[in-house]
């Protein structure tokens, strides 16, 4: 497979002015600002082939968004090279962004005062999309993302889930071959998350769109990505197939059980009790050894269970835990 994105030894340094406390500190900072160079991205390299769905994950401040911004040509790297479809985004931003669809979950590219449909009309003109292509794309997007209910609503009145679907549609109008999604499911309810994941899978399968996804949601990763690139402190710490990495990073799940009345024999051979608080018990178990469904059915046979829930591990915590560098 041909690489559509090639990143080599990418470095981005920031100069941070350190501020001291109090009035004296403020005055001192005004006269003699204390500057410090911080490496947000510290020698990142990877290459992504056409048609991959890659999860780009790491804790907050690991350098994920900064990398995405350099890939889209918004930021200039301190050193290192980037090639998107063989072109450097810094040298020729306009040609590169024509091939890209970008969604930043925390921002919107839609026009606040316009109706959703009007934002799309504007994008049609900006990207000079042929009418036939535009209508075809609109039909598909409207169908999959269920846009028809709110396409005539001003963007400022949309709910977060609707706005996000609108933003994803906006990013796909010009049939890009690469899609950058920066936390596309942040703050969404289960329904909206499902719709968005379904859409990502569809465009990847049908159109062969390459997807780079940054997220804090383990479900996103497990359901979508075939490959993970894990970053921490501005460095790539892992790069490999999703299944083995998730297992390595987050092998455990938690089952929280609430009992109706106190009970003695709480043990289970494939789960470990890590915490107990009155009638609430926390079981930790390995996904590879026993499925949640099996554990629940075996426990419910002997325990008087009132309520239970399964908790996924927090992938950021796991990354921090596994790749402690400081």
């Amino acid at each position: 497979m041909e690489a559509v994105i090639e990143v080599n030894d990418l470095v981005k340094e920031y100069i941070i002015v350190q501020k001291e406390n109090g009035l004296r500190g403020a005055l001192k900072g005004l006269l003699f600002p204390k500057k410090k160079t911080v490496r947000g991205v510290d020698g990142i390299s990877f290459s992504i082939a056409q048609g991959e769905i890659v999860g780009y994950i790491g804790p907050n401040g690991a350098g994920k968004s900064t990398t995405i911004k350099m890939l889209t040509g918004i930021l200039h790297p301190t050193s290192g090279t980037i090639k998107v479809c063989g072109i450097s985004p810094q040298a020729d931003r306009k040609s590169v962004v024509r091939k890209l669809g970008v969604v930043f979950g925390q921002r919107t590219q839609l026009y606040w005062d316009l109706r959703l449909g009007e934002s799309f009309e504007l994008l049609r003109r900006i990207y000079q999309i042929d009418n036939s292509v535009f209508e075809e794309n609109m039909a598909v997007l409207t169908d999959v993302l269920k846009l028809e209910e709110f396409i005539h609503t001003p963007v400022r009145q949309l709910s977060l889930g609707q706005r996000m679907r609108g933003d994803i549609a906006a990013a796909m109008l010009h049939s890009p071959s690469i899609l950058f999604l920066d936390e596309p499911t942040i703050g969404l309810d289960a329904d909206a998350k499902h719709a968005i994941r379904h859409f990502i899978k569809e465009i990847n399968r049908k159109r062969g769109v390459t997807v780079i996804l940054t997220t804090h949601d383990l479900d996103d990763v497990e359901q979508l990505c075939s490959r993970l690139v894990v970053v921490n402190h501005g460095k790539v710490v892992e790069d490999g197939p999703m299944v083995s990495l998730v297992h390595k990073l987050a092998p455990h799940r938690l089952l929280v059980v609430e009992l109706q009345q106190p009970f003695h024999d709480l043990e289970h051979p494939s789960a470990e009790i890590i915490k107990q608080d009155g009638l609430k018990i926390w079981y930790q178990f390995e996904k590879s050894r026993i499925s949640a469904a099996q554990l629940i059915s075996e426990l419910s046979q002997k325990l008087p269970i009132q309520d239970l829930s399964v908790k996924e591990p927090d992938i950021e915590d796991a990354i921090r835990e596994v790749y402690k560098t400081t």
């Binding site: 306009k94 962004v97 925390q106 921002r107 590219q109 005062d113 316009l114 994008l123 000079q128």
Partner: protein, 265 residues
């Protein structure tokens, strides 16, 4: 591409026309300003102040009315647009579109200008005509010169505004810089009091600054205080300023891109 700009202009025009309260507020304040200025000139002339350069009271009334109308037409939101977009980090969404940003902001401001012509200038003109009579130009020819001179004025003002906006790429806390610039423009452009009333030294310095070519030049042409030959020369100077500021902006813009800082995640 041109279609995209026109769409931006059109959408701004449409949305601005729907903000009714803003229109009332703006027409109201401008009307008060207009009345106060004209009465001030009346009072000054009534006390036997000697005439400056053969300017009559009628000339100054026309000058003032037109100046206030121009101020509502010359929409230069670009400095605030860039500043707020950088501050909130929203500028990223403009950067990943294959279109020049500044041209989009210009298209947006032109939309604002067109809407102001409809909903601010027309009411102001009607009120002014009712209170002080129709502010006619000195001659048809001076009106013909007035129009292109206004366009050049707008170009100068817009470029100045964009340059101030660019500073936000370097200094995150642009804060009052825009206000300082706006005040300087207001005074030195002769939009409140024509520079002909200022001391000789200020007039001399001001000849080498772009400000007087934004309001005083077109308004002077309109009331006939600047004749045809002088008017054409002044428009030549306007054009030089437009080119100069454009070159400066283009150079600054190219440098700013490598300096871009984005706020937030």
């Amino acid at each position: 591409m041109l279609q995209a700009y026109w769409y931006i202009t059109k959408m701004r025009l449409i949305t601005s026309l729907t903000y009714r309260f803003e229109v009332f507020a703006s027409v109201g304040t401008n009307l008060i300003l207009m009345l106060a200025s004209v009465f001030l000139w009346k009072a000054a002339y009534g006390n036997g102040t000697e005439q400056v350069q053969a300017l009559t009271l009628q000339d100054l009334t026309t000058y003032t009315i037109l100046s206030i109308m121009l101020a509502s037409v010359f929409v230069c939101d670009v400095q605030d647009t860039i500043y707020s977009k950088i501050r909130e980090g929203q500028i990223v969404t403009d950067f990943y579109r294959p279109i020049p940003l500044l041209a989009c902001y210009l298209a947006d401001d032109i939309g604002g200008m067109l809407s102001s012509m409809v909903n601010k200038v027309i009411p102001l003109f009607i009120f002014a005509a009712l209170f002080f009579g129709v502010p006619w130009p000195a001659s048809p020819l001076s009106f013909l010169l007035f129009i292109p001179s206004c366009l050049l004025s707008y170009a100068i003002l817009w470029l100045l505004s964009a340059l101030i906006g660019l500073i936000a790429f370097w200094v995150m806390e642009l804060g009052n810089m825009g206000m300082v610039k706006d005040s300087i423009v207001r005074v030195l452009s002769g939009s409140i009091v024509p520079l002909w009333f200022f001391p000789e030294s200020i007039q001399t310095i001001s000849k080498f600054l772009p400000f007087q070519y934004t309001y005083q030049t077109p308004l002077g042409i309109y009331i006939g205080n600047i004749g045809v030959r002088e008017g054409l020369m002044a428009m030549g100077i306007q054009l030089i300023w437009v080119v100069l500021l454009y070159v400066l902006l283009a150079a600054g813009w190219r440098r700013s891109k490598s300096k871009t800082l984005i706020q937030g995640g």
